[in-house]
C-alpha cells in the first residue's frame, strides 16, 4: 500500500492538505501537520496525491 510521509520541519501550517484529504491530514495546536494514517489503499491514491501536491512547501509525499 502507498505510504505517507510528512516533513514536520518544512510544514508551515498552510493547511491545504486538510481541505483536500481531511481523513488523512490534520494540524496540531501549534500549526504542524499530523498524519492520521501511515498507509492508504490504492483506491485513495489519486485524491491523496493531489492533497499532498497542494502543499506550498512540498512537505508531503505519497511513496510506494
Amino acid at each position: 500500500m502507498p505510504r505517507l510521509t510528512a516533513d514536520h520541519e518544512a510544514c508551515q501550517g498552510y493547511g491545504n492538505c486538510i481541505t483536500g484529504a481531511p481523513d488523512v491530514y490534520d494540524i496540531d495546536d501549534d500549526g504542524v501537520v499530523v498524519l492520521l494514517k501511515d498507509e492508504i489503499p490504492d483506491s485513495d491514491r489519486a485524491r491523496v496525491e493531489e492533497a499532498a501536491r497542494s502543499c506550498p512547501v512540498s512537505a508531503l509525499a505519497v511513496e510506494d
Partner: protein, 408 residues
C-alpha cells in the same frame, strides 16, 4: 494517441500535467513554457528567494527527470503566439505549431508594468529573472521605496527590511490591505510596518520617479520627495490573455469559462489559474482569482475533467490565500471584503500577535476569516466556511481552541 497541450509552465500548468497522470490519463502530454527556465514556484520570489535563504533548486516545481518520469514532453523557451481552436493547433513564436486534441491554457498573469519608466533601479517582482535582479540590487546600500501596499508590496518591504534596508511603502489608498480585510482590520497591517520601523506613505500617490539605480527620487502627489537607491513597483497583475485575441474565445479580463474550467463554447479548451474567469457555482458569478491555491485546485479539476469527461467536476472552492510579512503568518479564507461585521478572537497587537478575525454578513453565516500566526484557527474557519456554519457558532468554536504551546 490523443494529445493534451498545456500552455504555461508555472504552478497551474505543472499541477495540470501532474494531475493528468494521477487521474489516469495515458494521453500524450506536452507542457509549453515561454521561459527557458525549468518550472519554478512564484510565492517565494518576494520572500525566501528574495531574502537569499532559498535557492533556485528549492523553488523548482518540476525537474527534467520528473517530467520524464511523468512521460511529459517539455517545450520550454517557446512562447505561445496564437491559438487556432477550430484547427486544434497552437502556434509558437519560433514558427512551429503543435497539434492538440485538448488544450489547457495556463499563461497566468504578468506584473502590471510601472507607469513611471526610468532607465534602471525600478523593479517589479513576478518572474525568477525579476527576483534575481531585485535580489542583486537589494545587496547594495541605500533606501528602498516600495510602490504599492498590497500583499506583494508588503512582503517585499518586509524582506528588504530584514536585509537591513531602510524602507518606505507608498500607496494611494489610506489602508491598502483594507481592500481585502476591511479598513478597521487593515489598520493592524499598517501598524505591522510601523512596529518594524518601516515608514508608510498611505493615501498618497506617486507623481513621478526619476534618476537611476542608486540615485532615484520618488515624488509623491503631495509634493514629498523620497530618495531611493532601489524602487519596487507592486501594483497588481494583469492576465496574459493578449495572445488569445484572435482565438475566437471570449476574452474579457481573462478567458471566460464554465464551472468545469472549460472556455465557453469550446469544450476542448480548458483554462486554469490566474488566466481563467470561470463561473463559480457556489457564488453564482464569474471570478478571476490570482491565488496559488486556486491555480492548484483548478488544475486538479481540469485534469480530472479531461481524463473523465463523463464525470465532470465543478470548480467551486472557498477562497484561500496566505502572506508572510515580518513576524506575521497571515492566512485569509472566504470573502472578508464582502462582510458587514467582524469579530476578533485573540490579539493582533504587539510582538506576540496571535488572532483570528471572523467575518459575517447580514445572513448570519461565517463568510470568511483572517488569521495571524494561528494555523489551527485558519483550518477551523476554512472548514466552517465550507460547511456554511453560523457566525456565532464559529466564533465560539475558534474561541474554544487551545492556546499554542509556543509562539508561531
Amino acid at each position: 494517441m490523443p494529445t493534451v497541450v498545456v500552455v504555461g509552465s508555472s504552478v497551474a500548468g505543472v499541477r495540470t500535467v501532474q494531475a493528468l497522470r494521477s487521474a489516469g490519463s495515458t494521453d500524450r502530454v506536452v507542457l509549453v513554457g515561454e521561459e527557458s527556465e525549468l518550472p519554478y514556484d512564484k510565492p517565494p520570489l518576494s520572500k525566501q528567494f528574495l531574502a537569499g535563504s532559498w535557492d533556485t533548486e528549492k523553488i523548482r516545481l518540476l525537474t527534467a527527470e520528473q517530467a520524464t518520469e511523468l512521460d511529459v514532453e517539455l517545450r520550454l523557451g517557446a512562447a505561445a503566439e496564437r491559438l487556432d481552436v477550430a484547427g486544434r493547433q497552437l502556434h509558437l513564436a519560433d514558427g512551429s505549431a503543435l497539434d492538440f486534441d485538448v488544450v489547457v491554457l495556463a499563461t497566468g498573469a504578468a506584473a502590471r508594468p510601472s507607469p513611471w519608466p526610468v532607465g534602471s533601479g525600478v523593479h517589479v517582482v513576478r518572474t525568477l529573472a525579476d527576483a534575481r535582479a531585485l535580489r542583486a540590487d537589494l545587496a547594495d546600500d541605500g533606501p528602498v521605496v516600495v510602490v504599492g501596499g498590497g500583499f506583494i508590496g508588503a512582503e517585499v518591504a518586509a524582506t528588504a527590511h530584514a536585509l537591513g534596508r531602510t524602507v518606505t511603502v507608498v500607496d494611494p489608498l489610506p489602508t491598502p490591505i483594507g481592500r481585502v480585510v476591511g479598513d478597521e482590520v487593515g489598520e493592524h497591517f499598517t501598524a505591522l510596518h510601523h512596529r518594524h520601523g518601516v515608514r508608510t506613505c498611505f493615501g498618497t500617490g506617486v507623481e513621478s520617479i526619476s534618476g537611476a539605480v542608486g540615485d532615484l527620487t520618488v515624488t509623491l502627489t503631495d509634493g514629498t520627495s523620497l530618495p531611493a537607491a532601489t524602487v519596487v513597483v507592486g501594483i497588481g497583475a494583469v492576465p496574459n490573455d493578449g495572445w488569445l485575441a484572435t482565438s475566437g474565445l471570449l476574452v474579457e479580463n481573462g478567458v471566460t469559462c464554465d464551472q468545469h474550467c472549460r472556455a465557453v463554447d469550446s469544450p476542448d479548451v480548458y483554462v486554469v489559474g490566474d488566466l481563467a474567469r470561470w463561473y463559480h457555482p457556489g457564488h453564482e458569478e464569474h471570478l478571476r482569482v490570482e491565488h496559488w491555491t486556486n491555480a492548484v485546485d483548478s488544475a486538479v479539476v481540469a485534469a480530472h475533467n479531461i481524463a473523465h469527461p463523463d464525470d465532470l467536476r465543478a470548480h467551486a472552492p472557498v477562497e484561500y490565500v496566505w502572506s508572510d510579512q515580518y513576524d506575521w503568518r497571515i492566512q485569509i479564507v472566504g470573502r472578508p471584503a464582502r462582510a458587514t461585521r467582524h469579530e476578533l478572537v485573540g490579539s493582533l497587537d504587539g510582538d506576540t500577535a496571535r488572532g483570528a478575525v471572523l467575518y459575517t454578513d447580514d445572513g448570519g453565516r461565517l463568510r470568511g476569516a483572517v488569521t495571524v500566526n494561528w494555523p489551527k484557527a485558519l483550518v477551523t474557519c476554512r472548514r466552517l466556511v465550507s460547511a456554511g456554519a453560523g457566525f456565532a457558532d464559529a466564533v465560539a468554536q475558534v474561541g474554544a481552541l487551545p492556546p499554542a504551546r509556543a509562539a508561531a
